[in-house]
Amino acid sequence: MNMRFVSASVKKDLARWWQDSTAILIWLGIPFLIGGLITSMVDGQSGGTPTGVLLIADLDDTVLSGLVAGAYAQDQLGELISVEQVTLDEGEKRISSGDASGFLTIPAGFQDAFLNESPVILTLKTNPSQTILPGIIQDVTEILLDLGFYAQQLLGDEIARIQAAGLGSVPSDAFVSGIAVDVQNRLQTVAPKLFPPIIDIEIVEPPPTEPQPDMALLFLPGIILMAIMFSANGLASDYWLERDTGTLRRLVSAPAMLSSFVAGKAAAALTVIGLIAGITLFVGFAYHGIGWQKFASSLTWVSLAGVGFFAWFAALQMLFSNRRAASLVSSVLLFPLLMAGGSFFPLAALPEWIAAIGRLSPNGFVADKLTIELTAASAWSIELNNWLIMFVMTLSGLAICGWRLKTGFARR
């Protein structure tokens, strides 16, 4: 191989491709656009716990109805549900317009009915366009009603005494302490039945697991591979351009070796793809806070893979008899590959059997190993056999390009 001619070919192609720098910007821009959209969507979804709004029209306006309303805002439930007191009309209007997860109406006479063990109807309207939060509100409401029923069964006498004493006036200390003692005695009586220590619960801490990378990071390898695949496919069409402009025919008439020409074009492609990979990786590393010690290994892996894709796209395109067919087939192949290889949805987030199929695609293989490199504890985590596979794939693609040039593609 004539290294001087390899070098001349690299300079020649880089100078030519630089004239078409718009293409490089497009190859960079599309994945950044898609990546930005995906990242913003994923980040938006993981930004916080969804909360629902429960509207309560308290027509009873008593201590007990206030306790019911307050029960929804207790502890962790309060993080899920935001309670708003509304009038009946406002509540009806807002739940009809889907402006809340649920609307609870506590009717007038609720407290009296509870104390007298009379029937009473609480009305809960839920928002059908939501699924989880209205269900939680409904469950909590049912639990509250059950709690009220058991309180009636357990503390019926005490409740009757309170009712007889009348809640409108301030009770005496003796009355309150008497009620408290009676309630305490009643609870102590039933405690062995309610809280039997029959089951000894041992809480076992789960083994510590590796922290799971966030979804946006899992998208990164696929997005980078998208940029690489676009650029590799675009650069590969340069063989057809050279053929159409007659320079390949002139080259065949020259003593320079075609292998040097192929090597020069591959080296030029490596430079461009390396630049694109470097920019996308740099942005990804900076955005996700990935350790910079992994940058060189990631860039080497992606750049080598890019030259491999360039070689195979070129070999594929050179099999066709005209440029249009070559370009069409190459482009048609590109998008299923991107889809299968996890550029539109990360393999790590797919069911294992689908991810296994995706990893069989060339770009899926590369993206999978890049994911390993990006999420591993240390740099150079891609195993040696995977590097060998990549080298063999790249060299065989370049060999096929050389073979096609010699067997007629360059001579037509």
Partner: protein, 313 residues
């Protein structure tokens, strides 16, 4: 310098080049003349190594193009019929690249590129992109890329097709300069006037076969100063043939070159003086002449006489 011996190139049943042999020496221009599709480009592609000959031998300064291809190709310069340039690479970079493809480097390359740029008149446009050039400028750069390495044998495949007269004259000067510098130039064309102007010797090719070869003077002498008379109209056989044959007694060197129902081609000396007799004979045989073409002796006439058809058909 360039020896082609019994060259054959077949594509299946089609024989594009049929056992042609010729030689060209240094410091001369050898023309390969023939109509479109005659096999000129196929022959030149075999010589340049683009095509593998079916049989025959091609030698460049003693190097066989098949068995010692790299050495042979290093002595060849090719100026293809179609432009073969990087239109998105400055003119000077085009020349540098092709110079390196032929092994030039360093100061020798830089000097040669500078000389060629002056030679082809593009020194002031060296850093411009060819896609911004006129057609004639591109042709000159295309020529420059073929001669940047000072080839011993320069192959020019119809370099003036589609070129304006001014650029054509400039290209002629460039070819003559290469010849004067000692190169052996193989020049294919279907323009007879180009061959007459440039070529020291030439071969006429038709349907893949060489039908005449020699210097321009030698080939013209085959005509014996006879004119070519081509008549178009209606010429019923055998009456017309008999009428013309009857004239041969009075017109000594009259000869029928070709004849069909609508075209009759004759050769004779001083044709203009015999036109009335010829018209009378054809008319009396029931023929009808609608068009007459009379040509004085030149290579075009020779081709017509050799093949019975126009060179540009």
């Amino acid at each position: 310098m360039l020896e082609v011996t019994k060259l054959v190139k077949q594509y299946g049943d089609l024989t594009a080049v049929d056992t042609i042999s010729f030689g060209a020496r240094e410091g001369s221009v050898f023309g390969l003349l023939g109509p479109n599709g005659a096999g000129k480009s196929t022959a030149i592609n075999c010589i340049s190594g683009l095509l593998s000959p079916t049989s025959g031998r091609i030698s460049v300064s003693g190097h066989d193009i098949s068995s010692d291809g790299k050495a042979a190709r290093s002595l060849l310069g090719v100026v293809p019929q179609e432009l073969a340039l990087y239109e998105d690479l400055p003119a000077i970079e085009n020349l540098r690249y092709w110079g390196m493809a032929y092994g030039l480097r360093g100061q020798a390359l830089a000097d040669r590129v500078r000389d060629v740029l002056h030679h082809i008149g593009l020194a002031d446009r060296a850093k411009d992109l060819p896609k911004e050039f006129s057609g004639g400028m591109k042709r000159r750069l295309n020529f420059g890329c073929g001669v940047v390495h000072k080839p011993k044998v320069l192959l020019l495949d119809e370099p003036t097709v589609g070129v304006d007269p001014q650029s054509r004259a400039r290209l002629f000067d460039l070819v003559e300069a290469e010849r004067d510098a000692g190169a052996c130039v193989l020049y294919t064309t279907h323009y007879m006037e180009e061959a007459e102007r440039l070529c020291d010797s030439l071969a006429i090719i038709d349907h893949g076969k060489l039908i005449a070869q020699g210097t321009v003077a030698e080939l013209k002498s085959q005509l014996d100063a006879r004119d070519a008379l081509q008549l178009t109209g209606t010429f019923p056989a055998p009456g017309t043939t008999d009428a013309i044959q009857s004239l041969i007694a009075s017109i000594a060197d009259l000869e029928i070159i070709s004849q069909d129902d609508n075209t009759l081609t004759l050769t004779l000396s001083g044709a203009s003086h015999h036109l009335p007799d010829i018209f009378q004979a054809i008319s009396s045989a029931g023929g009808n002449i609608t068009e007459t073409s009379l040509r004085s002796p030149n290579l075009e006439t020779l081709f017509l006489l050799l093949t019975g058809k126009e060179l540009r058909e």
